[in-house]
Structure formats: C-alpha cells, structure tokens
C-alpha cells in the first residue's frame, strides 16, 4: 500500500517557477505499514484527473515524516505547470515513496560528506543532508543555480544547521561559476569521505569525473521521464555497469541512485 489517491496539500510555498508542497499522507488505520520514506526516493504524482497529460510525473522527495511527505519541483512543462496551480487544501493522487534512494548503510559518524545539488536537483539534498547530519556526518551542501533566483531554498539549509555554499553561473550570489567548479575548489581545500549529487545530467557527469579523479565514493541520483515509476514499463533506463557487465537498468526500480562509477553516460 504505497498509493495515496487523495493526499491533501497542507502547505504550499512558491518562488517563481519553484514550488514546495507538503502532503498529508495518512495510512488507513487498518494498515500495518508505515511510509518509511528514504532520502533519494521519489513519488509519482497525478497532475490531473483526465487523460491529458496521461502519465504521472516523477518528483523527488524533499522531506518526509510519519504522516507527511514534501516535494520540491520546478515548472518544466505541461505536467508540472498543472501541478503548480494546485492550492492548499486540494488533494492529489500520489504513488510512493518509490525507488531505492541513497545507500546510507555503514558508519557515517564523523565522516565528511559533500552534497551537491543543481537547480531543482536540490530537492532530495535537503532530506539527505538532514538524515546524514542525524547519523553524525559532517555535511557540507554545495547548491548551484544559474542565478540567485534559482536558489530559492538556500535559507532552510542554514536554518537546519547545514553548512551551505552557493554558486551561481552569473555570479549574482555566492561563488561565481558552475557548482562543479565550486566542488573542484572544495575538494582541493579538503577531500571529503563521500559525495552525493543530484542535478542536470551534464553537472552530474562532471561531478562523476571529479569523483573518479579524486577516488571519492559517490552516489548520483538520476532523473528521467517515467511511464509508471515502479518497474513495469521498462521505459526509464540508463546504461549501468555492475560486476563487469553493462545493461539497461531501470532508473525507477534499480535506482534512481547509482554509484558514480556504475553510470555509463555516453550511451543516451
């Protein structure tokens, strides 16, 4: 039971094209299950009742509690534009949490980790940062966007006690340049024990290259258009190499998070 046909929006915040929704996700009293959301998981959101658009939209989990989930997204097309029009008090059909999320097994106490988020890719980084911090890791957030307006939620990281360094392509806020250049600088200043990345493909690809260069254990959260979100349609694949063998793996079910060295970027 991971289907909430009428999850109520109990909070909405908007910054231009960026929106944050908190949903009330109460399981029926009869259900023995709990939501058990993990950082790096996502939900499939039905943006309307009819057949246009037909498919749900995959959206990263921004945060979660026992009976609520948060998503943070940017309007990118017809589906997210419809979603952005929803108001507090309205209900939406959501499926999830889905996917495997970040692998947080092992010992994190005292470990230094850099979390890199670009644009809407910052969405899962908040949940991940708070979780890693509670596990005792020393977390540094690297938050990149084209302009200052593309960093709408930078304040909440600081409020949560997470060290945050911002980068803008146009230099309007923080480090002037790509967040990958900022990452390069930060690694030179102090090599972390682990790296976590979510953002545009090119940014993630550059982070993977830096990770390989410095031998940093790195987890990358991929994004894709999805047919179903739970492994049935085989539509959202990426070339993944594991145990010496490469194959098309489902981003929804086998990911969306993969180790950086497993991802073969040049094959679509």
């Amino acid at each position: 039971m991971k289907h909430f046909p009428s999850a109520k929006i109990i909070r909405k915040q908007s910054w231009g094209d960026y929106h944050l929704f908190r949903f009330e996700t109460v399981l029926p009293a009869s259900s023995a299950e709990t939501i058990e959301a993990k950082p790096g998981q996502f939900v499939m959101v039905r943006v309307n009742e009819g057949y246009q658009p037909l498919l749900r939209r995959p959206i990263s989990l921004h945060n979660a509690g026992e009976d609520w989930l948060e998503i943070f997204f940017k309007v990118a097309g017809e589906g997210t534009a419809l979603l952005a029009k929803k108001r507090e008090g309205e209900t939406i059909d959501i499926l999830g949490p889905l996917g495997r999320g970040f692998d947080l097994s092992g010992e994190w106490k005292g470990k230094s980790v850099y979390l890199v988020g670009g644009g809407r890719g910052i969405a899962p980084i908040y949940f991940l940062g708070c979780t890693l911090q509670s596990l005792g890791a020393e977390v540094k957030i690297l938050y990149g966007g084209r302009t200052e307006d593309e960093l709408p939620i930078r304040g909440k990281f600081t409020i949560a006690g997470l060290v945050t360094v911002c980068a803008t392509d146009d230099g309007s806020y923080g480090f002037a340049g790509f967040v990958t250049d900022l990452l390069d600088r930060e690694i030179e200043a102090g090599r972390p024990d682990g790296l976590f990345v979510c953002g545009p493909d090119l940014m993630m690809q550059k982070c993977a290259a830096l990770a390989a260069q410095h031998g940093l254990p790195t987890q990358i959260s991929l994004e894709s258009m999805m047919g179903c979100g739970f492994g049935a349609c085989w539509g959202c694949v990426k070339r993944i190499k594991q145990a010496g063998h490469s194959n098309w793996r489902k981003i929804c079910e086998d990911g969306p998070v993969f180790k950086a060295e497993e991802i073969i970027w040049d094959e679509a």
Binding site: M226, F230, A232, W234, E267
Partner: protein
C-alpha cells in the same frame, strides 16, 4: 451482484479483465498495489528464449491522451522467468498467460517447448506483432500467410491454449484474423499498439531513439473498437479486446462489439490498481442496470434502425 465469469471455451475466467502484455511487467511489480487474484488473469511481458537488451533511451514519449513506446522487448528470457518469477506468481489464485516472442519461428517454438514443461501457465499469447521476425523488420501479423504458418506451427507445439495477438498496422484486419483462426488459434487478442512517431522541433530529431514506436492509451480506443467489431463479425473463436481501456465503461464497450474478455494496458501505468477498479466498475454497471451476467452483453451492439 452480477455474475462476471467469462467462458472463453478453452478457459474459464473469474471475470473478463486481464492485464495486457508489456504493461504489467512480470506481474510481481503490482503485488504492493493490488490483489492479483481479483482479476481474470495477467499476461506476462513478452518473452524471448534468452535475455534481451531492448532499445536505447528515450523509449517513451507522451502524446495527446496516449503514449508511444519503443522498449524493444527488453526482458529476462524463459529460464530466469521460470526460476525467479513464476514461483512468485503461482502463489496467487489468478490465471497466468505468457506472451511469447521469437526472432524466428524456431525461437517461438523453443519458448513454447520450454514453457510447456513449466507448471502454472494457463495459456500462451503468441506475439506475432514482434518486429524482425521476417525480412525487413516485418512481423508475421502483417501478412496472412505468415500468420497462418506461424500460428499453425505454434499450435502444433503448444500443450496449452494459444491466443494470437494481432497488429492493427494492416490494411485488412479481417484477413489476418481469419488466417490466425485457420492456423488453429484458440482465440485472438487485439489490438497491439499502432505504429507511430513523435518529433521535437527544437532539436529536429525524433523523440524516440528508435524513431518509431507503438501508440497506446485512450487515443487508440476508437480504432481498437472498430477492429474488434470487424473481427468479431468474421471469426468464430473468442476475441480478447484491448486498446485504451481506462474504465469499466470502456471495457463494456469492447464486450458490446464482440469481445468476450478485455485486456487493460496503459492504464496500469497511471493507476497500478486500474484492472481491479475496472472489474468493480463493470460489476457496478451491471448491478445498476439489473444485468445478471456480464457475458450476456457480448456482441449485443445494435446497429439496425
């Protein structure tokens, strides 16, 4: 409560709703979302003998009330299916049909031979709409002679009921349906997806890596209904209708034009419990209209004055 049971002759179903191959994974993906034993049966994603890579992404594109896919039948092959998937599905009280693919006639027969020896499979759906089975990427379902030959060979090999799944990408669906019937098919399922494409004007590239894909979803329902209606007039074997079924009312339309059962496809992606919901909606309609048996609706479309 209306009686939803359906007799296909070669098999009896609890209700007329199955899930369409390629839209229901191997069935196990849906266990968290629905009761597999609440539907008439499920049709497992097309199986070749061995594992298959499938196409490069992008494999999916959304269109007006529809979806074009070019997955390329990525899959695990029969051995993995028999060892890993079938034992999990057998725990459920539902019919398991397997959609069968082949790159040539020999492979179709090897898949059937392998599955003949596995317990828990109720029927085979022969995917004669596979590409690359004959020369120039054509599939057997585009030609009545090829359809007849392959169905006849498969039927001779099969120890289970054999349903031929037809392609809508033909000029005369009746001719192909008759060829499948003459070849010995126990039933016919239609329609598979419609050959389609989508274009990105910014990049001036096709939206699918494969250029072409198969269109499914509510957009194709009127075409599917027309083809099921035509085939129902022309053959005696039972028809399983599909194409854009999203609701119980959609499913009932297919029964009226002559299908004895239906398959729910793309709706499974949007609502993983769609097939069960559709069963309930069909039942509610029957109850509201005082119908005792849903099977009484089959082929009752009134076309006279």
């Amino acid at each position: 409560m209306a009686d939803l049971s359906t007799d296909l002759g070669f098999l009896k179903l609890r209700n007329p709703v199955l899930t369409a191959s390629g839209t229901f994974g191997y069935g196990t993906e849906f266990i968290p979302f629905m009761e597999l034993s609440a539907i008439g049966g499920l049709v497992v994603k097309g199986l070749y003998y061995g594992p298959r890579e499938g196409n490069r992404p992008p494999r999916l594109v959304e269109t007006a009330s529809g979806l074009i896919n070019a997955i390329g039948l990525q899959g695990v092959g029969v051995e993995h299916f028999a060892m890993d998937v079938l034992p999990k599905l057998r725990r459920f009280d539902t019919q398991i049909w397997v959609n069968i693919c082949g790159s040539d006639e020999d492979e179709y027969l090897r898949v059937i031979d392998f599955l003949n020896r596995q317990e828990g499979v109720a029927a085979y759906e022969l995917n004669i709409s596979c590409p690359n089975v004959r020369q120039n990427g054509l599939c057997p379902a585009l030609n009545s002679r090829w359809t007849f030959d392959l169905v006849r060979a498969a039927k001779a090999e099969s120890r289970r009921p054999l349903i031929a799944k037809l392609s809508p990408n033909v000029t005369n669906i009746i001719e192909i349906a008759r060829a499948a019937e003459d070849g010995g098919a126990d039933g016919i399922s239609l329609i598979n997806t419609l050959l389609a494409m989508a274009v990105d004007i910014e990049t001036r590239r096709p939206k699918l890596s494969n250029i072409f894909g198969g269109l499914s979803g509510p957009a194709i329902k009127p075409i599917a209904l027309r083809m099921v209606y035509q085939v129902a007039q022309a053959v005696k074997i039972p028809i399983i209708g599909m194409g854009g079924i999203m609701t119980g009312r959609d499913a009932l339309e297919f029964l009226l034009v002559g299908a004895k059962a239906v398959q729910v496809g793309t709706a499974n992606f949007v609502d993983p419990a769609a097939s069960v919901r559709i069963v309930h909606e069909m039942e509610d309609f029957c109850d509201a209209h005082g119908l005792i048996r849903v099977a009484d609706l089959v082929g009752t479309l009134q076309t006279g004055l």
